[in-house]
Assembly symmetry: C2
Homo-oligomer: 426 residues x 2
């Protein structure tokens, strides 16, 4: 089985990425939109985004990648394979950031992919299947919704037309923004993908809490998001005795507890969060007449998520019964749980084991481009720890040795998948 031509390494298992080069590239990219507090503000399809895209493409061309840009602005940097008709083994992530974002979220996945290609180029290794590094448009959703827009269009989660007509707060459409930065690419259909791997900082505290270097991501939690409205009766805090009140905030407090309990009832993967809450009229000496709040429920399997949905609706139905307070609940988002491909997850685990890194199976609580890619190709992810689990924050930080370790696992898993590609295409 010939999977590479190499003049510089004895075996592929001995290949190692250049951690310092990866770090330097991360720091160089982080200069574009750098904030005073050490973070990055580089919203999707802005001039800063264009500058970052241009830099990535320049780097990719230095190692003789071909570059394609599609109609939603996704960039695919391709290192040809020995069998270039095979579907590519793809990796990638995004380089747009939150308004007060960090240097690593998304950027790490893109530059880890670039570092894998650089390493192969240096070693003159040519895989059987082609390799691609994707830069997905507008993953963050800070300027345009929906989030994970580029990968969503690529995977058919929603249409290109729908995405192009979305507008930011100033009324600029995605289509116009793409054109203005010169990244409205060809209208070709999404191409087949042999396998998709994505390296990412964990954005949570689990790996750090377990002092573990590699998170072998088994899949992504399903999500149900809700808008809840509690209809009480606004009244003066002074003259209204406790027994005659219809206090919407008191019922909301019951619901906050219920959401927490529902998540704990579905441990270890259940999550329940009330992240947004608004009180009307929000006046110190007025009993709250109306409270609106959001609920975010997540679970690893759909049966659990369905149970959690029923428990939430039951809690809303009974919370206001004593005081005649009505609670309306409306589901606004549903992402099904997304297990990753067993073979590809095994390849990640194997890479971590072979390289001698501590590792543990984890599940992604957040959405990632890989979750959409999993709808059209075998997909998996590699997590590395981030400091204090903090992300979407200018103080987001990660250790260079962890980033290098994740990149080496990505390299091995991609080589592994490229070997598998030979089998399927042979």
């Amino acid at each position: 089985m010939q999977v590479h031509e190499s003049t510089t390494v004895a075996t592929l298992a001995d290949l190692r990425v250049d951690g310092a080069r990866l770090w330097d590239s991360l720091m160089q990219l982080a200069q574009i939109g750098a904030t005073d507090k050490g973070g990055v503000c580089r919203l999707a399809l802005t001039e800063l985004d264009r500058e970052a895209r241009d830099l990535f493409i320049a780097w990719a061309k230095e190692i003789d990648c071909s570059v394609r840009i599609d109609a939603i602005g996704n960039i695919f940097a391709r290192r040809a394979g020995l069998r270039d008709d095979l579907p590519p083994v793809m990796t990638g992530s995004h380089i747009d950031t939150q308004p007060t974002g960090g240097k690593f979220d998304g950027n790490y996945g893109v530059l880890a992919g670039l570092e894998v290609l650089r390493t192969l180029a240096d070693a003159n290794v040519r895989t059987l299947a082609p390799l691609e590094v994707a830069v997905w448009t507008n993953e963050e959703g800070s300027r345009f919704v929906p989030v994970m827009m580029g990968s969503g269009v690529f995977a058919g989660a929603f249409t290109l037309e729908h995405a192009l007509e979305q507008r930011d707060r100033e009324g600029v459409s995605v289509g116009d923004a793409l054109a203005s930065i010169g990244y409205a690419g060809d209208s070709g259909k999404p191409h087949a993908v042999g396998a998709y791997l994505e390296a990412h900082i964990e954005q949570g505290p689990v790996l750090e809490a377990h002092d573990t270097t590699i998170g072998v991501v088994q899949g992504a939690l399903g999500q149900r998001w809700y808008d809840v409205t509690v209809h009480g009766m606004e009244a003066h805090a002074g003259p209204t005795p406790m027994e005659l009140r219809r206090d919407a905030l008191l019922v909301a407090a019951d619901l906050i507890h219920a959401v927490n309990r529902i998540a704990l009832d579905h441990a270890p993967h259940g999550r329940g969060t009330v992240g947004w809450l608004d009180v009307h009229p929000n006046s110190r000496n007025v009993i709250p007449g109306r409270v609106t709040l959001t609920v975010d429920l997540r679970a690893a399997d759909d049966a659990s998520l369905t149970e959690m949905d029923a428990a939430l609706r039951a809690a809303c139905a009974t919370a206001g019964e004593k005081t005649g307070i009505q609670v309306d609940v409306e589901q606004v988002v549903y992402f099904p749980p997304q297990p990753f491909a067993a073979d590809l997850v095994a390849a990640v685990q194997q890479g971590a084991d072979m390289l001698g890194f501590s590792s543990m199976g984890v599940i992604s609580g957040a959405g990632h481009d890989a979750v959409y890619l999993a709808r059209v190709a075998p997909a998996a992810m590699i997590f590395v720890p981030c400091k204090d689990g903090i992300s979407h924050n200018e103080i987001e930080d990660a250790r260079a040795d962890h980033l290098e370790a994740g990149c080496n696992v990505l390299l091995q898993a991609m080589l592994n998948a490229a070997q598998t590609a030979e089998g399927t295409a042979a």
Copy 2:
């Protein structure tokens, strides 16, 4: 004991106010700043306030009252007594409103007082002590704080200078606003008051719930107001397992329940309200990192209020212990409980009984000008029901027969106090 000279009524107990005239005056005053929804928007010291003040003074002069305006803009319309050296028996309230206020809050107390004087003028009754109707400046506090500004200055709760330098959101000072509407009056010191009575809509649901016409107000609840801050840790709702969270809103929910329980533990007069709550960063999929909220505790006696204060502080100290969340609590306002004068309360009760109205002892949960006046004179209040207990709202409503009944009780109680005045001055 000569307390009146009269040619038209046999005894003072037979005197009755003109309910239709009272209603008409209320409706006429409500035209000044009338809103589309049937309410009134007449903020303190605006041109509309000036117009309403001018109308009141014109009405007072029609019945030969003398009018004095003091340095904070309080208006005193005086009907001379037979012994004009005696301290006046005073009534009154305010004619400024909330931005979306009603026709009755404050206005009723002022026009009920005017109706009492009109009734006495019609009947040619002259009391021993002089009678005064006060219009207190800026009771609502919607444009300028502190609330109950005019009566607060009069009673020495804070200084005239402090009040005059307060500014609205546009930067206009109380002093300048008074001057611009021509109501910066004389700098004479507050005069002695023989007794103070105030009629007011209840602004709560108790009288209506008990189908009772007259609330004989025993006093006002003491109040302690707090600002509370819950310091959690902001984190992603997805990747952060339940057991590693420091959710500030979950702790706030505990506090909302604690405030409710503390009030119920001090039934029937204990009140506990979280009226204002702010979540940071208030994002659907971010665990709340910080919650700020207000607490409003009220009780009829200071011992209860002190116990409630201790219970709140204990709840704040323990709420975040499990998760290492710090809770800061700061008291920002303290009004001591204010019992009203027993003799004057008895006079109100006697008036209601004599007139055959259903009545019950109640306590004022809200602050009123009478609460400050009680610091410098014997004071009491008369409550009448308002529809559904709703106030500070354009749909605030009250029945004409209830307003007339309260006014007749005020008349009798004022006559009673004027008789007492003879005794004290004799």
